[in-house]
Every structure is written in structure tokens, then in C-alpha cells.
Symmetry: D2
Subunit: 331 residues, 4 copies
């Protein structure tokens, strides 16, 4: 149950109530309490001090349609997604920042096409210790330089809690990766900023658990959470993962958060990315994440799935047509 407290309640009183009712407390204009989901009615003192009360079915509370029935609006720089915008944000770039030359080639190419958001990882969550682990802080600084020079919004990933503060400082959109989305340390820190957080679904994570991870951030006080479906792990191994578009429609139907789709990581091979990206856009989505690299064969990570610039240019042009057909606009 979500309780909006009366505006004249002090912080001390709010904290007392939170403790008394074993609730999570945050401030967002007003004080908001979130009780365990089994509590289904405000009683006693809580009832008296409540301005509004929202009861939800499950532990999907702040993200649920029972709480906010429309899609939340999130601002990324001066771009709006969600709400009534009917905008589909194109986020593109290489898997990793590898060098200034490489990231600048990507930034320049994307800006010329009209793309406004650049993705690239500085802290890479690799499965093997014997491969490229990312440039770390130096990578963040290169991204910062690209932002300064090209006016791009920077989307970059936090891998674990040890460097969360740096990523939060440098990113315009903080990406929480599929392998890190249960990390309480990261989720807690993301709740304490107001920057948009792109939360990726773990590949073994149910939709319920995924949205509950978003609740950690929302209940920390940050309303700017974007969900990202990027493929789940199934028995099929001809492709790297299985993009769960059925799940994406469920998220649209049952949550109030913007949803971004990532066809590149889902399939893991460049050949299918254009078809899948168009499918994602026709679904009606708040954004797509697509990997493109100046020279995919030489990429230090995810070499197989990144589009080269020619492939991306063609795709980007066709994406606009598909978006129009479903009354959306690529931004």
C-alpha cells in the first residue's frame, strides 16, 4: 500500500510513521510511505494522516498501474519519453569505449545521422577475467568529452557498487546491466539521485522480479526509472538470448514505467538486428538500444552483434518509417 502523507507533516513524524508501520519512506514533493504489500488498508493514525492511499495486488507498488495509470514521463536532457510523447528514443553506439579515436568516430557518425543518445560501456561485466574489462574511469572521461563536443546524452553502465558513484556522476542515463540488476548497493545509490536509470532485465529474471528491482530505486526516491528488455535465456542457443516481446507487452499493460528494447544484446548476431529493431519499434516502445561500431570485427567485446555504420544508417532510415506507421516518432 502506498500512502501519500499530508503536506504539513514533519520529517520526524514521517520517519516515526515509517518505523511504526514497517514502511519505506521517501520524499518527492510530499512524504510517501510504502508498506509491505500485505497491508491492504490504512488504519488508525495512518488513515488520519493520509492524503491519498493506493492499494496494490503484489509487491509491484510504485511501478504499478493501480498507483499511476498512465506511463510516467522521463526527461533525458531536453528529450521526453513516456507520458503522451509517443517518442521512441534511439540510443546507439559501441559496446565498449575502446579509445578516443573509436568513440569519437561513433559519436560523430551518430550526431550526423541525428541520433541524440550515445551508449558505450567503461566498466564491462565480462564473464571471463582473461578478456578486456573496459577502460574504467578513463572511459567515463572520454564519454564526458564526447558529450561536451557533440552534445550527446551519455548512457553508460555501472557494473558493481565499487564505482557506482563515478558512473552516476558522469552518465546522463545510468545503465544498470542485466548481471547487476539485483545489486542492492547499486539500486540504493540509484534511488538517491534524480538522474534517469535504465534498468536492464536480468536474463534469468522474471517480469515480476524485474519490476520489483525497479521498486528499490523508486522507493529510494528516484521516479526516473526506465525498464529495458534485452533478451532472456532460454533453451534456444542459435541466438544468444531470446528477446521477450510478449513480456514487453505485459510491462506496457501492467506498469507505469517507460520501456526500452535492446535487440542487439538479445540476438547477439548482427544479421538479425535490423529486422528485430523494426519489430521493436512497431510494438510501440519508448526507445531502442542498438550497438554500432566503426569496425565491428575489431571490437574488443560483443564483436558479433555490432552493426557497421552502413548497416546502421540503413536501419535508422527504415526505423523512422516503421515508427510513423504506428504513430510514434524516432527521437
Amino acid at each position: 500500500m502506498i500512502v501519500h502523507l499530508n503536506k504539513n507533516i514533519t520529517k520526524e513524524k514521517a520517519q516515526q510513521l515509517a518505523e511504526k508501520y514497517q514502511s519505506t519512506l521517501f520524499e518527492n514533493g510530499k512524504f510517501v510511505l510504502v508498506t509491505p504489500s500485505k497491508v491492504k488498508a490504512a488504519e488508525g493514525e495512518l488513515k488520519e494522516l493520509a492524503e491519498a492511499v493506493f492499494v496494490t495486488d503484489s509487491d509491484i507498488q510504485l511501478a504499478g498501474k493501480e498507483y499511476i495509470s498512465t506511463r510516467r514521463e522521463v526527461k533525458i536532457g531536453d528529450i521526453t519519453i513516456g507520458g503522451n510523447s509517443k517518442n521512441t528514443l534511439a540510443i546507439a553506439g559501441p559496446c565498449s569505449v575502446e579509445s578516443e579515436e573509436q568513440i569519437e568516430a561513433a559519436a560523430k557518425f551518430l550526431v550526423e545521422l541525428g541520433v541524440k543518445a550515445l551508449r558505450a560501456g567503461a566498466f564491462k561485466p565480462r564473464t571471463s577475467p582473461y578478456t578486456f574489462q573496459g577502460l574504467g574511469l578513463a572511459g567515463l572521461k572520454l564519454l564526458d568529452k564526447m558529450r561536451g563536443k557533440y552534445g550527446l546524452q551519455i548512457v553508460t553502465e555501472v557494473r558493481d557498487s565499487t564505482h557506482a558513484d563515478e558512473v552516476i556522476e558522469y552518465a546522463d542515463v545510468i545503465q544498470v546491466g542485466a548481471k547487476s540488476m539485483y545489486d542492492h548497493g547499486i539500486l540504493h545509490k540509484c534511488g538517491k539521485t534524480k538522474k534517469p536509470v535504465l534498468l536492464k532485465r536480468g536474463f534469468g529474471t522474471t517480469l515480476q522480479e524485474f519490476v520489483q528491482a525497479a521498486e528499490f530505486i523508486l522507493s529510494g526516491g528516484n521516479p526516473n526509472v526506465i525498464l529495458c528488455e534485452r533478451g532472456i535465456r532460454t533453451f534456444e542457443t542459435k541466438t544468444r538470448f531470446t528477446l521477450d516481446l510478449c513480456g514487453a507487452t505485459w510491462l506496457k499493460e501492467n506498469t507505469n514505467l517507460p520501456i526500452i528494447l535492446d535487440p542487439s544484446h538479445a540476438i547477439g548476431y548482427a544479421f538479425g538486428v535490423p529486422d528485430l529493431a523494426r519489430a521493436c519499434i512497431a510494438l510501440g516502445t519508448d526507445g531502442v538500444l542498438i550497438e554500432t561500431h566503426p569496425n565491428p570485427k575489431e571490437a574488443k567485446s560483443d564483436a558479433s552483434q555490432q552493426l557497421n555504420f552502413d548497416e546502421f544508417r540503413k536501419l535508422y532510415s527504415s526505423m523512422k518509417k516503421v515508427a510513423e506507421a504506428v504513430d510514434y516518432k524516432i527521437v
Copy 2:
């Protein structure tokens, strides 16, 4: 390895060769031998009598791009899919034939909209013996009547070998369901007709196995096989299955067979069908299967996933726009 034998070879000789080389033999204008896939070169007598030889990587042979590098064309009545047609066939109708009134309501509605293919099951593969099992032969006869009256192409399912002959007789497109796709009895009989066969992927079936099931039909002598992705079973249970569009792009890239997508069975709930159907069309597909029923709530099977006529009408209109955006045409 696939061997096209010289045109002047007799049937007896072809059969001798098939036995000698442990190969499958069929006739399609010429005699075609398919050897076990481990055989990688035609030698001796086989080499001499071969007109053309195609070596493939795996047991995907007749369906593979190494054999035929373009998509095969399949005719359904006077409609063409595959080849260079850029047609997306809309197949629609209720889950089951329930009564003449019900199926005629659907037939009439669809014909008025311009839909040319009617789907409905007479033999239902149910998971419980205590539920509606379909009208059987009587259902096939009702479908036959609809074809006569409305000129619709009939797509209907064979559940097991015991009634395969009847379905093959009555259907324009023989559907082999997800639960029956390994059934050698059915696959064998489908190989002996020339009618198009819509082969659905089992929900626990890998892409490799799926295409290999198609090989049973193709190597029986029937070139008119259409693959249908209809959702696979994953850990996610908020939706009934997970539509594998990554897999669909793999099939497009690696096989020569037309591909049809079934969003209705994949998600299992009407709410997501329109978004998913548009995504399927934007992917670039040879057809979509969508369930619609005059009164979904009263449906005797799959009540939750069938669209009502208003919902279908709206979807159908939007499907045309999306198809155009990717240079396809809904037929």
C-alpha cells in the same frame, strides 16, 4: 548431401542407389537423393549419375540455404507467399470450430474485411481429457461449407495420425500443431501430398530440430512446407509462451522456407496481441496467424487470447500500414 540424379535414370535404378547409399529418395520432376549429412562428397557411381550435388553443414539439408539460396514460393489457392512476393498472408479465425453459427459469423466477418484464409481447429490437442476436444469430422465439414460459401482458404490442424487423412483431404493448408510436430506418422503423410503444410514449432523444440522435422516432409516429396513460430516455453509465466522473434530471424537467414508467425498462441492473452502482431509484420514475415472469435468470453478453448471483431478490425487496418513501411503487403 543432396544429389539430383540425371533425368534419364529409371525409378528402379534410383531406388537401388537410395538403398546402396542409405539415402532418402523422392521424385519432384527428377529423382532426388538425400544422404546422411556426414557424407560430404558424391563418389563412384553416385558421382557419375549426379546432375547436381549440394553439400550441407548439418541435417538441415533440403530446407537449407546451401541448397536453395532464396525463399521458396508456396501457393495457397491463388495467393503466393515467399519467393519475391513480399506478401504477408493474414490467417484469422477462432481457435476451434464450435458450431455452424459461430464459424459462419467468423467467416462472414473475415471475408468482408478482405481476409482470405480462415483458421479453426476441428481436432483439438487439449491438455486435459475433461475439456472440449473439438467437433472432429463434423468440424471439418463445416469448414468445407465455409470454403464453398465464402471462398476462404481453410487452415486446420491434424492432431494425430489417426485422422491425418481426413484433415489432408479437407484442408487447403494442413496445420501440424506444436504438440504433434515430431509425429512421424503425420510427417510421413504430409510428405505424400502436395498441399501446403504449416508446421508449427514445438514449444520445447530447438530451431535445429524444428527445421529437421520439416525435412521429414520435404524428403517425402512435398516441397510446400511453411514454418510457423508460435512461442516457446521459458521461465516467464506472466505470458503463456515467449514469441521467439530472434529465432524467426535465424530461420529467415538460414532456411529457404516461408515463415509465418503466431502472436496469439505465443502470448495467450488478447491484451498484447495487437502490439505483437504489428511487431511480427515489421519483422518481415510471410504470414501471421491471429485468433478472433465472435464472442471470445464464450469460446470453448483459448478464451483468453482471442480478439473480438472490433479489436481485430482495428488491428487489421494498422497491420496494413506497418506492412507498407517495410515494403510488404498484407494479403
Copy 3:
């Protein structure tokens, strides 16, 4: 709901009631009606004519603990499994009958060790048409010969409805394979015999669906159904399937049917079979199915997973010790 009708009711009357209440009817000493599971109380005429009534939660009815709270006893020749027997039946043999020499080598070896049930397939459900498909009827006749000569119980598989009658005739235990377990044609025929049916779980089949498939046989009138867990398909591909022992404990807890485990098909590689087989026995099970072949490397199917005779002999000896440790006995 299951209704035992009064003993003095005629067949005609029973059939009338079945039609009136949309129920399944079979005779087993008395007439038994099974209604759709949503019916939760016998009313009117049905109440009057009922001798006993059993209400169940789901469409697991005849197989459920609400109907029969203990494990059913099934007889295979003069061997009993289930009930209070605490017997674990060892079923062993090659994947396929390949020749008289091969099957006799296996039969002789097993009889000398004390194994009483021989498994081998004559109709093989292969994934590719270009591989060995089994000896068919000739294979059944070789198995018949082994039974005559060595007194072994024969466990063999029906692949599809077209040869179900032959398998039912020749087998002591009719095996319905993982790929055929939804086949209504087979399930229907298995319901009309009293021979034990070993029903294998499909690798993409939920426990609920699996037991519901058993309901088709039980409600056909055959009480001798044995469930077999043989591995499900998961994202892990280092092993062929994943043996679901969690599921096996669920079946023990929630159904009244004997349960047999098949480690060989689950893992798909000989190296893990002994450890897994011992784990299966320690779980407390009514039987295990283990593949062994005189010369696994030359096997025409499943070469990688069959134990050679030395490996099997060692395993068999250790199985007895483990069975004893959990108060079971290998038979």
C-alpha cells in the same frame, strides 16, 4: 470431480449420465464418471446414484492424492512396484534393437546380472529423417524372442498412432516417449488396454500437463500408468537435458502413480550416468531406466550415453547398496 456410481447401475444408464454431465466414463469393477474439474459437487440425479464422490483442485483427478492417497501398485509380470512394495525396478538395455546378435548380447548380460526388464526401441522417434529409424516390427519380433528365451519383461516404445497396436501387442510395458506424450491417438489406445504404460514426460512439458496426459489413459479405463521423468530442456547445454528431481519429489507428493527415473536420456553422456543413477535411487523411486549396449561406440542411436557392460555391472552393484540405505530394494 470423480463419481463412483452405484454397482447396480446399467451401462446404458451410466452412459446417459456421462452425456448429461459432460463426463468421461469408464468401467473398472464399477462405473466411474469424471466430470470437468470445475464441477465441485454431485447434485440431483448424480448425487443419488453416487456411491462415492471425490473432488479435486485441478484437472489432475484420477492421478491425484485427493482420489487415492497412497501410491498405486502396478504389476509388471510378477514384479510389483508402487503400493507398499519399496521396490525399485531396474530396466536396462540398449537404446535401439539393432540386430539379433546385439539384442541377445544385452539380454544375456542383463539376465545373468539379475536384471528382469529389458528396454530397447523398435520404432525410434528421431529428429532427422536421414538417420537410423529403428527396425520397426522386425525389432518387436526380436524383443519377443528375447522374452521367450530369457524371461525378460519387455519395455518398448510407441512412436506414433500408426503402429500403436503392434507395440501394445508385443510389449509388457508400453513406453510412450517424450515426443509422443501428447498424442491423443496413442493415449486413447493405451487407455483401452490393461498393460502397464510407462509415460515419459515431454522435455518441454510442465508437471501439470504431464500428469494430465496420464489422465487420458486413466480415464480411458487403464489404471496401470507409470510416470517417467527423463530430463527437461533448459538453457544448460553442456548436458543434453536437465533431470528434474525437484519435479520428481513433487510427483511423489501430489500424485498416486509410480514414478520411474531415466538418468541416461537426461544427461545424454555416459560419464555422469552412474552418479545420477545412484542419486535417483537415493531419492526413493519405483524404478530406473538405464541404457547399456554391448558396444556403445557402434550404437546406431544415442551412442554417447550408453554404458558398456563393465560400467553397468559396477553401477548395478552400487545401486543395491544405495537402495538399501533408503530401505528400498532393487528388483
Copy 4:
């Protein structure tokens, strides 16, 4: 490729080599370099300075049988597992430390039975922010008290990098949970201690990735890594997860690390834990993790899967018999 450097090489030289060959370096008596796995031969300077060289197939290097062909020995207090010990360590206790009274009840009960290792979580990785999150540092201190009073080895979990140092300080065995096993921050810190690390497999993690996570710790310089299979996520939801015993046999066959099995988290329901635990022991394993709680119904987390003390006592007694049957000993 793993390279043992000559004993007389200085740290500076070793570091130079590591940089030159893009290798990971650690010291364990001698300096050990691990190159990217694509390097298959020591050449030039590296060849000259190598004392021994081990080439492996994949990025399973330090954990692989090509490097060390027998199971590694790990000491937990004065208990040995792995090596030639044939010991199966019983680790038991509640899911979470809830209060001093609760944890002491468990500690006392277990010590009286003869159990030597106590498990309980202080930092709980919960899926919802609105439930009990663990006692944190206070919980660690209670565990420390139990160690002092009862001489138990303490197994407790690190949830994220923010409190890794505290857990490493207080635990005898550092547990890295299923949701945290990709956490580079944690893995890095675990590589810098010599305390045993119990690394749990993520429920969506392949065996290959799982062992590669262990490589992060091993290549950090800590040889005391224990793998723990605790159930993977599959389509089956009647049980919480699916215990992958096929995978456990693969780990035994292909890695040199001790393996512990966790039936409690796998099934998620107390009813199946005893049968599964016995199965685990019969498989031949270096340990089992079993949850038991003084009053499972009141447990603040995982209430459904914890055994009460009577259930545990019975199970523990039967475990000894099963262990003996496979020549192991419960310690």
C-alpha cells in the same frame, strides 16, 4: 594458458611479463600468469622463464582438469573437503539471522547433532524492498558469538560490494549468492583473501559462466573456491527452481573444485528436501547446504523451504547411511 614462472623471478619481472602478454598475475608460492585462452603456446621470453605450462580448451583455466587433474582440497577450520577426503560437509541453519534467540536455538540444536558448520544470512538479497532485508552487521556479530560459544564454522553471504569487507572478516566461509555471482567487486575482494569462498551458481547461469566466475577469484590468488549448485530457473514452476544434478556431474568431470549442493533453495518447499538431500549425497558431493529453523512458519524469509528440527534430525540420520553406501562420510 597457465604459466608457472621460475621461482627466481622477481615481482617486477613477473608484472612486466603480465603486462606484455596481457595476462593475469597472482602469487601462490610462485608467480602464476594466466593468458587469454586463445594463446595456446608459450613463446619467446615466456617460454624461457616458464617452469610449467598448461594449455586449456576454454576460459575455464585454473578450475580445469587440464591444469589440476584431481579435486582440490579445501580446509574449513580443521575439516577437509575435496582431495581424497571423501567427506561430505553438512552445512545447516536458518535462511536469515533473525535474533539472538533464534540463531542460538539453531546453533545449539546443530552442535548437539554433530553438525559443524552453521549457515545464516545477515545481508539478504531480497527481490522486494518491502520485506525483511536482514540484520546486517548486527547479524554478523551474532554469528560471531555463535562461533565463539559453539565452535561452529560460519557460512554467511555477501550481497553486494558495499559490505564485502565485513563479511570477509566475520565469515569462515564467504558465501557469494546466486544473484551476486557476477559481481566483479565481490569476486575481486574474494580473490584477495585466502578464506574459502562458496560460490553459488546464478539461477540463469550456464555451467561455463559459473566456472568462469570462479576464475575471477582463483586468478586473484585465492585457491579456496567451492562451487555450489542451488537450482536453475526453468519453465517448471511447481517447484521454485530445478536442481541441476546433471550439471553437478559435469562439474565433477570437468573441474578441479569441490562441489556443494543446496537442495533447500532448489525446490523451495520443505516437502521435497529430505528426498533431494539424500539424492545429493548419493551423487557423491563435497557438501550439502540445508535450511532448518526453530519455527519455519514464523521465519522472516524462505518460510516455505526450511525444515523444522524434527525433520532435520531424521534427515541427518538417514544422510549418514546414504553417504556410507557411496563410501563417503558426513562431516
